[in-house]
Amino acid sequence: MDKKLEKLLPLVQKPARYIGGELNSVVKDKNAVDVRYAFCFPDSYEIGMSHLGMKILYAVANAREDTWCERVFAPWPDMEDVMRQNGIPLYALESGDPIKDFDILGFTLQYELCFTNVLNMLDLAGLPLRAADRKGLSPIVMGGGPCVCNAEPIAPFFDLFSIGEGEELNSEIIDLYKKHKALGSDKETFLREAAQIPGVYVPSLYDISYNGDGTVAAITPKDGAPATVTKRIVKDLDAVPYPDTFVVPFIDVVHDRVTHEIFRGCIRGCRFCQACFLNRPIREKKPETINEQCKTLCKNTGYDEISLCSLSSSDYTRIEDLLSLLLDWTPEQKINVALPSLRVDNFSEALLNKLKSVRRSGLTFAPEAGTQRMRDVINKNVTEEEMIETANIAFAGGYSAVKLYFMLGLPTETDEDVEGIGLLAKKVVDAYYTNPDKPKGRGVTVSVSCASFVPKPFTPFQWEPQATAEALGHKQQYLKEHLPSKKISVSFHDIKVSALEAVFARGDRRLADVLELAWKRGCKFDGWGEFFKYDVWMECFDEIGLSPAFYANRARSYDEILPWDHLNYGIPKSYLIKESEKARRAETTQNCREKCAGCGANRLLGGKCDV
């Protein structure tokens, strides 16, 4: 360990975030590899170390003999101060080497509010922020993750983006980089060729022009870049490599357990949900594969908890088979199995009984909206009866705490819909007290958590305005005033945070100037309440001359060119328009297993979906 760092670490909180050397972290001989890759997570160690995608891509890159992939997180502000005061540049945890000298820096962009952290990390590394100012082939700064579906606001800081799933694509990018490094090519030559790899988006090869009203006039590719970049997917999840070990952190992180992805995609098609539309088509992994991989992971990490993750766990067709396999060996080894993201409409008693044999925690459901009309608009196909029935199963099974997730500010929402949230929660309270099998001698607590709706690209709601801060404030107040029971507690997400998220989610490339100015004025860790500086952000929009309302609160027409129109996630605009129209008529769409709605994502698989 570096002597200078060793002397400074006692000055910061949780120094074990910055020391590396965790069990199963990969150390290679730097002179024996061709490519040094820094996987950068633009948030704290505790958040980044919880992220499954990083574990997968870390394993894939390190499986290559020619590549050494290391981890980098955003230092907490106390550590950043110490680093800046003592001239310590941002370093990778495994080697302690400055990432400035690496070949590739790969940032994962999981949420819009981490964008300032990306800029801060580039600066801490000692690199120019803008791609155009970084001459020379290395380091190539690339981005991946859900936010690259509209990376325009942050595009000028990146050399390339990898669109879609990275297991195979990342390796192709590394191969090409290695070739050009050996040839001594310049960055421009590498990027022109990289743009030919399916799934690679090189933003500098696209000129964007604007109309007088601020909307996009044209997106023009150059130097042979494709007019449309189509996302990459992995076709067979059973065949794609899954890590056989995880880096086990020293300190407690948010998700500190074996996490296993049981399928990708979602059959539901809730109209607000970007994850659904970005990750189609649905592809399941076999229970046998999952079970074996879980065994290996538990053995290699020593974890005593397995969490099965997906967008909607109970939609996994062989969930009971999988639980049987897992429950065959986990109780004996005192390992818990957790199953988050259950739906209320197919949560069976048999499933609950299986889950009961492992440790019980609270129960969380996401009805998302308070009235049936509103749920039909967003295509959240659950009914009140199903909800109450599920709650009753859970209460009889010994649960007495229920968390309910909702959104405020959905398209067409009225005060009646807002009031409906309280009424629905009240019905859950009543169900508890009328349930003869409820736990003895305990009261019920129903916690209602309300987020503000943020319209996202590639969803049927991508043309919708976000409700203004005033309107959202009214809705929150209205709900608080119309809560029908003291057993219900309600909490809200910060409206201003959601407003900024909405701006960047559907922003264009001009926002890069706002981003850079806000970073210069000290904005970072915007997703953390204690660091979020709304007023500074508003000043920056003002100075650059861009209006947040133009991006967040403006209704778009179907024929407007959207800043992300040159990317293709497998679902054509025509389908999203059809869904948007159905939403306006409060018509639902059946899920993929009931009836194929023809979203088009099957073409990515070459024909047939795995429903």
Binding site: M1, E6, K7, L9, P10, P15, A16, I19, G20, G21, E22, L23, V248, F250, I251, D252, C298, K299, N300, T301, G302, Y303, D304, Q333, K334, R359
Partner: protein
């Protein structure tokens, strides 16, 4: 079922891993090593692992005792080998023995600290340690509230020895340890800093061994 006492060394970067985190790390290590531990029988069973004395963040350890309750036949030698095969770098089982003394018998600890001559001279350090006027602040609890108390450090220094070379000063010091009162070398240096009116830090500090009230080694 029987208890074994594991003697751990915790070196290098691991000195930045806290007591609580060490406990979690040990729970996972015994699982990986497949050591048959006895589990508590409560609502939420957990393996019986007991770190006898917390080691302060920033201090390395040479012989830190941890008690494990074993079910079955595994020998101390096998436990040691299995653990060393799965520990992260910096952590080592130096020995596995049968416990001889009760944890409550821990009374003192021997520490070794390395100081830089650019920060302090041997005379200054000796003068401070013999001054009788060293004080530091310790936070504790009184009636459920957090309070900061000023503690006289001088009266707690059981023994010390100072040597030096061209660049460094080496301090061997015996300080109180155990469940009732603890003083670590970083707190001692904090008291020295206050006394001299300028910061003095340790390049490294290590706990060498634990002692009983009569200064015989705790085993």
């Amino acid at each position: 079922m029987y208890d074994v006492r594991l003697w751990l060394s915790k070196r290098g970067r691991l000195k930045f891993v806290s007591h609580l985190d060490m406990f979690r790390m040990m729970q996972r290590a015994v699982r990986r090593a497949e050591i048959p531990l006895w589990y508590t029988e409560g609502f939420n069973p957990h393996p019986y692992i007991s770190f006898l004395l917390a080691l302060s963040l920033g201090v390395e350890g040479e012989k830190e005792p941890v008690d494990l309750r074993i079910v079955g036949e595994m020998t101390p030698e096998e436990i040691k080998e299995r653990l060393n095969a799965v520990f992260p770098e910096g952590l080592r089982a130096e020995a596995v023995t049968l416990p001889e003394h009760k944890p409550a018998e821990i009374a003192f600890a021997d520490y070794f600290a390395v100081l830089e001559k650019s920060e302090i001279t041997a005379q200054e350090l000796r003068g401070a340690l013999e001054s009788g006027a060293l004080e530091t602040e310790k936070s504790g609890k009184s009636g459920g509230r957090k309070v900061v108390k000023t503690v006289n450090v001088s009266e707690h220094i059981k023994a010390f020895e100072i040597t030096e070379d061209d660049t460094h000063i080496y301090l061997n010091v015996t300080l109180p340890a155990g469940s009732t009162f603890n003083l670590n070398p970083l707190q001692l240096l904090d008291a020295v800093s206050r006394y001299l009116g300028r910061p003095v830090s340790a390049e490294s500090a290590v706990r060498k061994r634990l002692l009983r009230a009569d200064l015989s080694e705790f085993r």
